[in-house]
Amino acid sequence: MKQHDIVIIGGGPAGLAAAVAAWDAGVRDVLILERDDSLGGILNQCIHNGFGLHTFKEELTGPEYADRFVRQVEERGIPYKLRTIVADVSPERDVLYVNSEEGAVSVRAGAVILAMGCRERPRGALGLPGFRPAGVYTAGTAQRLMNIEGCRVGKEVVILGSGDIGLIMARRMTLEGATVKLVAELMPYSGGLKRNIVQCLDDYGIPLRLSHTVTRIHGKERVEAVTIAAVDEARRPIPGTEETYTCDTLLLSCGLLPENELSKKAGVRLSRVTGGPEVDDSLETSVAGVFACGNVLHVHDLVDFVSEEAARAGRQAAAYVGGTSARQGRTVTIRAENGVRYTVPQRLNMTDEPEPVTLRFRVGDVYRDRSLVVRAGERELRRVKKRILTPGEMGELTLPAAVLAGLEAGAEIRVGLED
């Protein structure tokens, strides 16, 4: 069986940044496996701008952001295979991939980096009642059809869900001459970035109806209308509030789900909250030598954070195959509580010379003027005041080395909100 030091599954922003970082950490035998026709992943269809403010201090479009990393991969001569799907990963890190040129090939990897990204929650999983006509698309599918294939998806549009892709598509379709009648959002707040609500909806006078959902899809062949209704606190439609909008298209932007079918095959333990692997601060999963980064780990709001996280995964995978991993088998677990839904990582490795650790987290509701508090037992390790925390934006918190140095192995630290 062929061997590689590091095999990276996925050539989107996470996989690319991980590959570059692993190479720069000295590993020369890195292989990227990408299922699509080109590197760059979903960024290829994200033609809008707003990427890279953190990473490059300038505002780039998706393809431009991807290109920065593709060039780094090309400059280093890191090999990659396109139109190649990974069919299996074993806990022993045997990777079975399939493509037209080579057929089905097994390779053994010193380390595997999972970077498969996420998928959109489809209509079926939302249980939207009504007919099943053409014209119901997830926002990302519509985005691909418009931006890559150049198709007009619809002329009169209703959007369910105010995730960022839905908001971006509201503007995109409006600019291409479609009428976007409204965006309905089940929750009492939007899951999208404030900037997108202003620049994609407000700019074009598109109403956002919070606490509303679709209760019926009309039209046997093609969507003819949708009925929306207000929902109560249990998110059940309130009878008598139904309004029907004629339209030919319904876009769904109702959440992203990390795509971890391969991770499960590798025996990786997943978090029930994130849908992604549970990892330690080196982004290593429950299976030794298998690392995860990007949207397969947890859904990010900004690609800049994906790149940063993936670079860490790349460096740590390099350390793992180089035998210089700092891991000493002593760990501290992190528990999210009091409004904090999760943290990534979920556990920390204790070392003699700890380095500062960045925790990423999301909250479950909109909170104003709270403190984010980290505790070990009753001891307060860190307290940060926050003016606002929203479910749509990923939070970040750094634990300084000095704080970590004082922790006992086997301890639990808790991250939560307090008044």
């Binding site: 033609i47 479009t61 998706g62 393809p63 418009m146 294939e149 600019l175 620049q199 003016r387 606002i388």
Partner: protein
């Protein structure tokens, strides 16, 4: 005197801004930091946006190339710029940064490719 209600987008807080324009004087209230005041004034007096879209490519490895305005254009010009972009067709190869539409809709701003599309075959 005119009054505008905006949401600040400079950070996740999203302060609700009230902006009043009285002749040459612009007053912003509701902001909680100086960046909000600057944003509010600009949004009311000279708002600008970057426009992005795609243009068909003939003879390329893919069918369309993504494009953007090389810098922001006046918000009121966005739809005109879109019309200019819709008229454009290019032939491969196209390189990221190539000018696709010169001086789009009289804004003085070029529309440039944001992706490289090589020739097919």
């Amino acid at each position: 005197m005119e009054k505008y209600e905006l949401t600040c987008i400079q950070c996740p807080i999203g302060c609700p801004l009230s902006v009043t324009v009285d002749g040459q004087t612009v007053a912003v209230t509701g902001n909680t930091c100086p960046r909000g005041a600057i944003y509010g004034e600009k949004e009311v007096t000279a708002p600008t946006r970057t426009v992005t879209s795609t243009v068909p490519v003939t003879g390329g490895v893919i069918a369309r190339v993504s494009v953007k305005t090389a810098s922001d254009v006046a918000k009121g010009k966005v739809l005109e710029v879109m019309r200019a972009i819709r008229c454009a067709v290019v032939t491969a190869p196209v390189y990221s940064g190539d000018v696709i539409v010169t001086d789009a809709a009289g804004t003085g701003v070029d529309v440039i490719a944001t992706k490289t599309v090589l020739r097919r075959g």
